[in-house]
Symmetry: D2
């Protein structure tokens, strides 16, 4: 995992859920300004530009393609993609993302970009030179390694010249001031024989390239699902890895996340975060052609945030921040909830039945603890658990089994029991110092 030493779990905003391939510099800056003002005090800090910032004509053939095949991209003479100046005017003249990153940094925030694994296909077909290598792009690119869903790149061979290409783009990103890269088509690759976690060597090459820059950058791997069997490898070479395919605002995938978190519960620790994916809150979908309010009910939104936080997932907002309503904003400003992201808690699923799920988290050093009760069914119902049952999920001595007074985080109510009536698809979150 390199030299990443921050305890805090990454929290921020990502352009994809609202803007698809089409976000512009102005959009990014507007969201960053909102974050600096309303969210930064609560821990939110990353501003991430998602896919195809290098592409022209994005969204012009929406009825046929999300990604236009063999379309026009901005690329330098070494086959390195650059921001499309039509969407990011400040990048013109070779400035790249540096001007934008500078502005983000000036707001006290951090700047991230999305990267497709590999080298542009056209660089290979055009035999472009690779910076720092004698071999040209056609020798670096693997013609059989393509993404199932995106036409832009070829995967990179596990050779010194391949490493040189990755070094060349990471040096560029470091020179721009990038703090976070979300690398795509790498955590779960679609095609056999690369299926599953099939390009491990490219993860290692990215890790090395980041280390060589000397800059702290979060390495985030997409899409999921990651495979638990390789948890040791994700942990060693990356910081975040998606445990699910793209997550959107429907209950079935939210319900499914409970099973995913169950499997990954032993693998969360600072610098090593299984990632439940973006939070589709507020307004989403505009540049997919159908702007809408999140389809999640308020209870489902609280359930989602409760699960992400007690599990310890990174939090990336998939919303147009400037359009957030007051109620949604209040969720994102709940300090007691977000305390779970401070990197000091260990969490476990306590029980899982068809209609009920209970998780607990504890700070082993201080004994501070949380218990979340989830109602997965379609009808309201009472759920209760004893501290002793929670304690049984942890090593002896961690979670104090004694009774006492608890505060329910969403309502602020005090209680001497962990339990209560829970709404359909809803959650209660109890806290005790």
């Amino acid at each position: 995992m390199g030299k990443y030493t921050t305890l805090q779990t990454p929290m921020g905003w990502n352009s994809y859920d609202y803007y698809d391939t089409n976000v512009t510099e102005a959009d990014v800056l507007a969201n960053a300004a909102y974050m600096a003002k309303h969210l930064k005090p609560y821990g939110w800090e990353y501003v991430v530009v998602d896919i195809q910032w290098y592409a022209y004509d994005t969204a012009s053939m929406r009825d046929q393609f999300q990604y236009i095949p063999f379309g026009r991209n901005e690329m330098d003479e070494f086959g390195r993609l650059l921001p499309c100046p039509e969407k990011f005017p400040s990048s013109a003249g070779g400035a790249g993302f540096k001007p934008l990153a500078d502005k983000i940094h000036a707001l006290g925030l951090k700047f991230g970009i999305h990267v497709m694994r590999g080298i542009p296909r056209l660089a290979a077909h055009q035999h472009l030179p690779v910076l720092g290598a004698e071999e040209t792009a056609d020798m670096v690119a693997d013609p059989a390694s393509v993404a199932e869903w995106n036409p832009d790149m070829y995967g990179i061979r596990n050779t010194p010249a391949g490493q040189a290409y990755y070094d060349s783009i990471l040096q560029l990103y470091a020179s721009w001031g990038v703090d976070f890269i979300k690398v795509d088509d790498i955590c779960s690759t679609g095609f056999h024989p690369h299926r599953g976690y099939g390009r491990k060597h490219e993860v290692e090459m990215l890790h090395k390239a980041i280390e060589k820059t000397g800059r702290d950058m979060v390495l985030s791997l997409s899409p999921g699902p990651a495979t638990v069997e390789q948890s040791w490898h994700y942990s060693r070479y990356a910081n975040m890895w998606r445990i699910t395919d793209d997550f959107w605002d429907n209950w079935d995938t939210l319900l499914d996340m409970f099973t995913r978190c169950e499997k990954w519960q032993d693998h969360v620790r600072p610098g090593c975060w299984p990632d439940c994916d973006m939070l589709p809150l507020g307004k989403v979908g505009k540049h997919f052609g159908h702007e809408r309010d999140t389809l999640f009910t308020k209870d489902e939104q609280k359930t989602m945030l409760t699960l992400w936080c007690i599990f310890g997932s990174p939090l990336m907002l998939g919303a147009e921040l400037t359009l957030l309503d007051h109620w949604t904003l209040s969720l994102l400003q709940n300090e007691k909830l977000l305390r779970l992201e401070n990197g000091r808690f260990v969490s476990r699923q306590v029980l899982r039945h068809k209609d009920t799920c209970v998780w607990a988290a504890v700070d082993p050093k201080t004994g501070e603890r949380y218990v979340a009760l989830f109602n997965l069914s379609e009808t309201a119902g009472k759920i209760a658990i004893s501290p002793a049952e929670c304690a049984a999920a942890f090593p002896e001595g961690w979670f104090c089994p004694e009774e006492g007074t608890w505060e329910e985080v969403w309502s602020g109510n005090q209680s001497d029991k962990i339990g209560g009536e829970v709404a359909p698809h809803g959650a209660l979150l109890f806290h005790r110092s």
Copy 2:
């Protein structure tokens, strides 16, 4: 299967096993001349030029690549591949394979070529026009459909413009006088979700394109293994389909072919041939960098030919014909053996044990019949079978169960029993009119 009406199972020669990607016009003509003189009287007639006849620099990076990635290919302005004039001088000036095909035809033989499924990748990246369509190559090519093992092409979308591209190349081939096309990366495609028989629409498009030319062309699909569940589709739209991955001269894959033939035994009929792949006989492997005599023993060679013939597979010689020794040639001139390829026989596996396999074939109209005894073990042993046991594998009345005199095809010996000592990995073949 279109209008293909010949009963005879295809028999011929293919350049691959000896020449790999590197066969030249002179090589083809030398083999054709030999065939015309020594083999044509026995039914051998197809001369097939295998893979990358359009590529320059073939075999120049043998230590790294069989197929040079992003290499130079000869292509016309409509993205149609043409013979590389350095290897096929008579093709220069836009003549294509017509001059060569004419010479082959003049010898009384038929001419075939290998074709990779799809459209050249560079045609897509260059947005070339497609003959007969308004859409350009970038709209015809599917960027996610690549071969696992060859870097030249993209698969074609199931659209009218896609059909137009296939029509355009088949019209070209028909104008050259092509009688046989071996289409590759189509019978079994490597990548999920196209894995297995994953590009059925391209087979149908090829079938339609052939029908539109009005010319009889054998449509042969590679590589294998084909999937039995789709036998109805292969039968309807193609003439030959490989039931195995590339077959070479080692016993394990020959032994494995018995299992493949067992599964496909109900699916052989004129115009619809499950294909056991080329016969690696005589000299092979030269342009792979290691010319050698076939690694099969003489007994194994007879076993191979016996199985291919009694099963009813097409026969394609993978040998340099001009270097055939007398003994090997004699195998290929065995009229009683090759009679099994006349399209009148129905064959069945009679029994299969670990060390023994027996097949029988019968012409239901005349009662003429064959029985093959195979010794799959490492030691010589006696094998015998009664006509009644063979008869039980066929519908009642087809295979006459009465005793009588049989001729063993390889030795010419007469016998009143079907049986005898069989060499390790060897075969006996009994015939009775």
Copy 3:
């Protein structure tokens, strides 16, 4: 397939869909009497007693089990199951099914029974003798071969003593006058490593045991799905094999049957019938605890019958015959429809789109032909096809492509085109001599 020589595809009645495990002698006789009177003239002739005729207390623990584990079964001293005399009074005193079979035969009908593959588990645990063998049942039974869904039997080892056990039960069935056995847990076995068609040797043993009896008995294998790759084996050793898991009255499984028939279309011929399973018509489900009318609409019922007949599946009624209404009975008395079951037709799927499917059948000797148009969508729509398109699915010369007058079988209407408005989930069937 043994010596089975009847051309006619099997048609009859089976007790399962209405009676589950609980059918009695009186029920069977009532259905047989109805069949003899109303259906026999149209080709219906088999009366089949389905599962657990040997078991006591059937249906007494319905809320927990369909098959009571470790329950009481009627068994002789050689471990052979006998009819439970509480359900089949005439079987008492060792008479077995002979008295019942005699009555069925006296009605001009044929008698069939269901058989679980294997030997009763208790026979093995009790070390009972096996008739005709020195080894006892504990040596014949394979303790790792159990059904996934039924607790009664162990599979049988591939040994002479195992064959002796199968011989002993088939001799018993032959002595009773059984004409049809439906063997279960054998066409698709549930457990790896026996998964799929995992007990081929038991099929071969059953085939041999039937041959030894000298009696014509249809060998029907359940449940499905059968695997196309083993079609040669089913064809050689059995007469019918299920291509689907249990089929019930819901549209999704009926829709799915089109895909199954597509895959099996090349494998139908007299004595070798891929089997689409029972027809859930009229009243069904009573002894499952919820008697009901079939959930299929009238159009879906016609679609089902049209598909089963043009494909060439056996027809087994899953209905209480004595409760059939007039409309349903009329379907089963449609002579022109049922003519497709006479064993003289070859059929092919002509085309398959998302919403439409067309099949054609032809008698290659007489040229008589049928075309079925299926509307798989939720809305009515016009479907039409030319004779030439149908002809392309057959070998040249079989299906006459000329225009002419056709009769629509369900309505009796004449037309010079094959086509018309088809109801949602409905079918039209055209016929021309």
Copy 4:
């Protein structure tokens, strides 16, 4: 994992590799006496009686069966298996394993037994009562849950009566003084749909039953391979779980263990041990019918022990201890090696190439550390690694990257580098306090 609190990784002896199903009380006592005298001072303490201690006639049909189907077992009136008194005379009269356990304890050792998951099949067929439940064995047993390889038991349903059965046997074992149970057919079950870790509820029931006894018992699950995705479940409910199918003395499976350890490296901690299975050392195989010396070379034996120890696997000797030679014994008395089993070390694979593998372990509290160099190839070769490379595999600050003096554990040599010539299939193990 219950209340298991010992840091020390379990080390002991198991009867299987030498005695198969046929070990006797005298054999067990002889091995225990040897252990107490020669091995106990080095940490070896468990004496485990493996499979079918309840069965009569074991090994009497060796040529056909390892486990005689439907054979005779010793069982009480509640369907609980008891030691066969012919093999364990002190168990007669209902004493069970108590007398033997007492003798083992008197030697300062701990006593373990093997248990097949489930309830005896015959108990179900005989409808025996279950202690503490109203339901009888036929309602507790699941007739579809059988082992792929052993005929004795049915799995147990997830019901209160099922829990009562498990409670009843664990109470019995606790009353005997059992310290360790190795439950079989539960860590990886063979049959779909129970395939993989398919009987989780039986693990939870066993865990509960052990907790109810109030006695510390190690819960060890077999056979492997366990599935990494369920590591959280194994960790919570069991103490040891096999990561491999039965391990024997051949190099290929030893080589394969490196891949297994790689995958499980993040999941080793006190009370939660992924288990590499028994050590086939010294004499093995006698009651399998072929007594022999281990087929491992001396170098391979050292490699095996080095890997097991640096990974942190439990160590169970599969040898006849009384026949150990001096050299083998010396391996088992290597204090510096066995120190790795003290529960204080965290270990990681540092690198893995085709021919080389390096692991490192560190005690994060003291900084004491080990590095193992493995030569996986067929030829001797030099391997070296720097402390800095090892340190990169751990969180910052754990493994000190500075240079210094190391001791090679097998030879006792001192060196200032981690490296040296390593024999084919051999290992070096470096230590530094």
